[in-house]
Amino acid sequence: MSSVAAQQRRRTAAPAQSPASADTPRLSRKHREWLAAGLFLAPDVLGLLVFVAIPMVLSIALSFFQVSGFGSYQWIGLGNYRRMMHDPLFWDSMRITGEYVVILVPVLFCVSLGLGLLVKQKLPGVGVYRTALFLPYVISLVVVGVLWKFLLDEQTGVVNRAMRAAGFDGESWLGSPSLALGCVIAVMVWVMMGYYMIIFLAGLQEIPKEFYEAAKLDGAGPWTTFRTITWPLLRPTSFFVLLMSTVAAITGGLDLIFVLTNGGPANGTSLAIFYIYQQAFGFGEFGYASAMGSFLVLIMVVISAVIFKFTRGGRFDDGE
């Protein structure tokens, strides 16, 4: 009896639906949103899988092989990692990378923040300045390398010409081990500052104007306003810039080094990423390079975790 009653209830309920939906069941709003999100995300997910995730797994696998010649693989377990531990050139490259990151990231952070604050002002022609400062970021690093190679040339470079005109001796900017890394850092700051300036600008523009108006009414000066309003509210943006610029510093810049110094002088600009590239594609040591690449990724995960820990992921609170 109870099943007959249930059937009756279903029959009674049926007319509430539209006639069309009886033939073509519609997705709920939630499902439609999931579907849309999936479709939007699909190209990126596919790209990340094909070009990042799968190569990453294959590369870790490759790090356990000795690659001799072309396409000849021999399992050697942790042999490449043991070799890495005893390779002074690799540790030199890691030390240089450390110096590079420790100088580049804070300088880039401060310069970008400064520029962000500057171009936020209502200055005449500020759009032109924003574009000009962003422009180096869209230029290929190879072109940047060639350009700066000319600018930093010992005899004919603009930098040395200007120095000589001011009564100083010129320098061998790219030929002195003590100067070359600094030049690479300076050029990278020049390239990247526009991008992070825009990030900071976006962060600055999200801070409600009312806060500044209130601070002004309270008689706060520019430094106090920056310290008590701008800096705390820029926290998520600062976290983003810090993390991304650290990762970019460790993994990027290969093209620039390649063109500007080729790792010289005397390995002075041989960053870990350059040394890994050289071992893989210059020397055919694909297994060894994969081991070093995997180790570098591990280092980056640790650094990222430390940044997350100390900045609490850029959040304002401890929750969520």
Partner: protein, 455 residues
């Protein structure tokens, strides 16, 4: 006042910030993937053969480059007219070809070209990798004899694995105007290292290098440094394969470049961002160690510029030697059709037929300026007037005869030598320590080395 979520619009802002945070985390994870992959796949068989090179087909404002491109295009067109197996030329820009990852990674993934150009410094890496086809069965003994010692560094166990298209000796190029303005004449052309440094010191100014040696680390820098070591009787390995790098001759060669830089006679980076013709024309160079290939570049870009060349000076008690470079044609032993690819190499450069010899003549004294590696081609080139100019005559009759082929050391050996050159020249480290360190590194490598002879 600053309580989150209480201001209009703030929740949305917070949300965006959280999104930013999440993006940063994801970005960090994803950007941290400079990883390398290598997975061998079987080479697809059939289809046209691919000939990777850095000459053509291309169009350039430089007439010399266009002529070189045309030489390649014409050669392949001639082959395609007369053979069933067709060939496609694939052009790669020179920097990509020389130092890029495209060629080695193509071979590592089993997708290497069927025919390609190879420098002597890279010979062993490719031979030991098993991708060089034996060209000997496709050549006449007469053609092999015609090449003579030019094939020595491309042979393993008497078999030929690469056919040189050119020989490129190194010499000193100098600016005649600068020379004359300093009151120097041809009689002052240096024959010893000391004279060379003295003249370089005399000719240098704040914007002009007295003497230029290659400064950027790489195979090319090693290539240009070897003759200074050889001239004093030094070497990397002796005839038995024993490492002899740590020697008086090596130390004095390292010291020569170090002294030139330390005293400001040679710059720490090459002038004019390595634009040789621009550097000379701009008055930024007095002397520059360079190769014969620049004769064609001067002819194309600065036909009226007055320059001269002279043999590399020697140390006290030394003997003149220069390095002979030059590229070769190779066939991929694992390609689509290795037999046809090898046959093509022999047909193009290694046959006794007139076409083959004339093709080399056209390359060495027409499209380019080189010494021909085959005796017959050198004779024909001379008869054609290709070596009549003062500079080319000097290269053929004086500079080339004392030459020695560029060694074919594998990467570990190259790197040890490169680090010694860079460390002494540009970081001011002691020559004895650097020579000893490099020798130890090379000796350690050769103990476990398995492959074709390093010498």
């Amino acid at each position: 006042m600053l309580q989150h979520g209480t201001e209009a619009g703030f929740p949305a802002t917070t949300s965006r910030r959280r999104l930013l945070t999440a993006a940063a985390g994801a970005g960090a994870a994803l950007a941290a993937t400079p990883l390398l992959t290598g997975c061998g796949t079987a080479q697809a068989k059939g289809g046209n053969l691919q000939f990777w090179n850095f000459y053509g087909p291309q169009r350039s404002p430089d007439p010399a480059i266009n002529a070189q491109s045309k030489w390649f295009v014409d050669m392949v067109a001639t082959w395609n007219r007369t053979h069933k197996q067709q060939i496609d030329l694939v052009y790669l820009p020179q920097p990509t070809y020389l130092n890029g990852f495209k060629l080695p990674s193509a071979f590592a993934t089993g997708e290497g070209p069927d025919i390609f150009l190879l420098s002597p410094g890279d010979f062993l890496r490719y031979y030991n990798g098993g991708v060089l086809a034996d060209l000997t069965p496709h050549m006449d003994q007469a053609a092999i004899d015609d090449y003579g010692s030019a094939l020595d560094s491309r042979k393993v166990d008497g078999k030929v694995y690469a056919l040189p298209m050119e020989i490129e000796p190194l010499a000193m190029f100098y600016a005649q105007d600068v020379w004359e303005k300093a009151g120097l004449s041809e009689a002052d052309i240096p024959t010893t290292w000391e004279q060379m440094l003295d003249i370089g010191d005399k000719l240098r100014t704040k914007t002009r290098a007295g003497l230029v040696f290659e400064t950027q680390p790489g195979y090319y820098q090693n290539f240009t440094w070897y003759p200074w070591m050889w001239q004093g009787g030094g070497d990397v390995m002796d005839h038995q394969g024993k490492v002899v790098f740590d020697s008086q001759a090596t130390r004095q060669a390292l010291a020569l470049w170090q002294d030139a830089v330390r005293h400001g006679i040679a710059p720490r980076t090459v002038p004019a961002a390595d634009d040789v013709i621009g550097g000379f024309k701009g008055g930024n160079v007095a002397m520059w160690q360079q190769g014969i290939w620049n004769v064609a570049s001067f002819k194309a870009f600065a036909p009226k510029y007055r320059y001269g060349v002279f043999k590399l000076p020697v140390p006290p008690g030394g003997k003149y030697v220069t390095t002979l470079g030059g590229w070769s044609f190779c066939a991929n032993a694992q390609g689509r059709n290795p037999e046809a690819a090898a046959e093509f190499c022999a047909w193009a450069l290694g046959s006794m037929k007139d076409d083959s010899i004339n093709r080399m003549v056209d390359w060495c004294v027409g499209a380019k300026s080189d010494v021909a590696p085959r005796a017959s081609a050198l004779e024909r080139g001379a008869a054609k007037g290709g070596y009549d100019s003062e500079v080319m005559k000097k290269f053929k009759d004086e500079i080339f005869p004392g030459g020695r082929a560029e060694p074919r050391y594998p990467p570990v050996v190259y790197k040890a030598i490169s680090d010694a050159i860079q460390g002494t020249m540009l970081a001011g480290r002691g020559v004895a320590g650097e020579a000893a360190r490099a020798a130890q590194s090379i000796a350690a490598y050769t103990k476990s080395y398995k492959g074709a002879s390093l010498i």
